[in-house]
Amino acid sequence: MKNFSTVLKQAYDDNPDKTSIVLLERDVDDRVVTYGDLIREAAGYARALEQAGIEPGELVIQIQQHGMDLVSAFYGAILRGAIPSILPFLTEKLSPEIYRRSLMALIKVSRPAAIITYPEFKSEVDKALEEGNSVRAVLLENEISRDPHPDWSLLRGLERDPSEIVLLQHSSGTTGLQKGVALSHEAIFNQLENYARAIDLTAEDVIVSWLPLYHDMGLIAGFILPILRQIPLVMMSPFDWVRAPYRLMQAITKYQGTLAWLPNFAYNFCAQKIRDRHLEGADLSSWRAVINCSEPIYASSHQMFLERFKEYGFRPEALASSYAMAENVFAVTQGGIHEPLKMDVIDKQAFQEQKIARPATGSEETLTMVSSGVPIHNTEIRIFDEERRELQDRQLGEIALRSDCMLTGYYNRPDVTAEAFHGEWYLTGDLGYRVGDELYVSGRKKDLIIVGGKNIYPQDIEALAGEVQGVHPGRVVSFGVYSEQVGSEEVVVIAESDEEDPEERKRIANQIRQSVTKGSDIALRYVEVVDRDWLIKTSSGKIARSANRGKYQSVFRGEDV
């Protein structure tokens, strides 16, 4: 039998002194964590969970800052046989009340037995625990010590059946936190196997990651894949990276990193915000693949990255892409590994009006699409129309998939799980088209906004904006608009108001900015307060997000859409 714990035990028995993680932290030397260290640290958490009466199969929520304790607690829960789920922690700007509200909603739906957090956050966690809630223990990082001699006979993770759930992944916001993606041991192993083939993973690879672990790209590609397959992982915190993006380049140089995954905006961010003096001595020639993943891919971002870093040895053939989602554990497709990344230049008008990706022939306006690659092993893709009929090559429709690494379901949400499937096909809500095996992803069918790789639900943003006094109830819309400079979407809110005084409207706009910024994962910049009946409604009276985006772009930005 093979589960997460048996694989960890194998690494512990065979290679206790092998480097598993090199942890890069500020102002201290890089910390080398061997498999022996990792298991001893994790076993300390497993023991603490056992002593707290947490049983195998129960859910353990982790609210921790990036670092060794987050890693140890995760594998500790696994060794206990419990189900860990890593949540984002409260940032400086986020309102504690809003965070608490989301946490309470999650506790109600997912019913965790324990929460692991850091001492400074305990009082916040306590405030979220309502009477009669499911949480029986709140464990603090500082109270847990390593177990120098793990007793495997007590680590009940070894008994877990491969078909059982091993972890949950949540996306952020009030909506996302109520929809935990439950994944089995087996599904994750299948993904790792399929994906390792797709990227030609070998023992010579070195993975470098700054990605957060509450998101599939960071959790699977930048954490579980390297650790379970014994590939060295060089890991830094997203908090540090965003303040010092050059650390990624320094880490690649120092450890001869070969693989990294980045959301599209990070290409722009690195290209624009790293000073020359921080690149002195940088050598990026070991980088064999930088995989663009988790938000729409733009050729201009790749170009910007290549231009900035080619003089430091970055090779154009290292540009790669993947289409991935938590519901398939991680990757669905992979491109740019076995052959150069493909691009498709298409007729813009035919694409927008007839939903056909027709190759451009001459003088017409064009769109340059970057391929997300071809399906990984044991994964099939179909493109469906609105009636769920299969579409042909170059026809735009909803991407559906079937694989041997799908989610078990949304945790405690059979209703949401049922809605997500059409027979055995998982409906992704993403739009795209195929050319042969090659997949091109163009956007979302659902109104999800993707900002810097994070999924943002417009209804969460609209609810926050709607709380502001002066906004007409229910007359708010939010959507994303792509910014070429940033390489990602920027969020816009339009709110109707009966208030006509321009100063008053300015006040309302500022309050909306503040309410959304403090209550969500994004910082809101673009707000327009408009007259009654400005917003376009559908025939059923709902506010149409995409139609209003078009109107906003033409009215406020003078763009031709």
Partner: protein, 82 residues
């Protein structure tokens, strides 16, 4: 000295970060803890301060403990310019 630093900082934050040219920022308005400047723009601010005033703000200093308002940032710049 601080008098000339403040308006430059305020203009930069309003136009380049907040994208609202007419946004007036009070010297004591919390920028980081108030969510006006998000983590993605902290580096922009550090780059601007370095180019404009020749003062380095290290990346580990980019948090609300080092400065959270324009007044605090201006004081920091002045102190380092010596």
């Amino acid at each position: 000295m601080t008098d000339s630093i403040l308006p430059k900082l305020a203009t930069f934050v309003a136009t380049e970060i907040l994208k609202q040219d007419d946004r007036e920022l009070a010297p004591d308005e919390p920028l980081i803890s108030g969510g006006l400047i998000d983590s993605f723009h902290l580096v922009d601010l550090a780059l601007f301060v370095e180019e404009e005033f020749g003062v380095r703000i290290e990346d580990f200093e980019l948090n609300a403990d080092t400065f959270d308002t324009l007044a605090q940032l201006a004081a920091l710049i002045e102190e380092r310019r010596g």
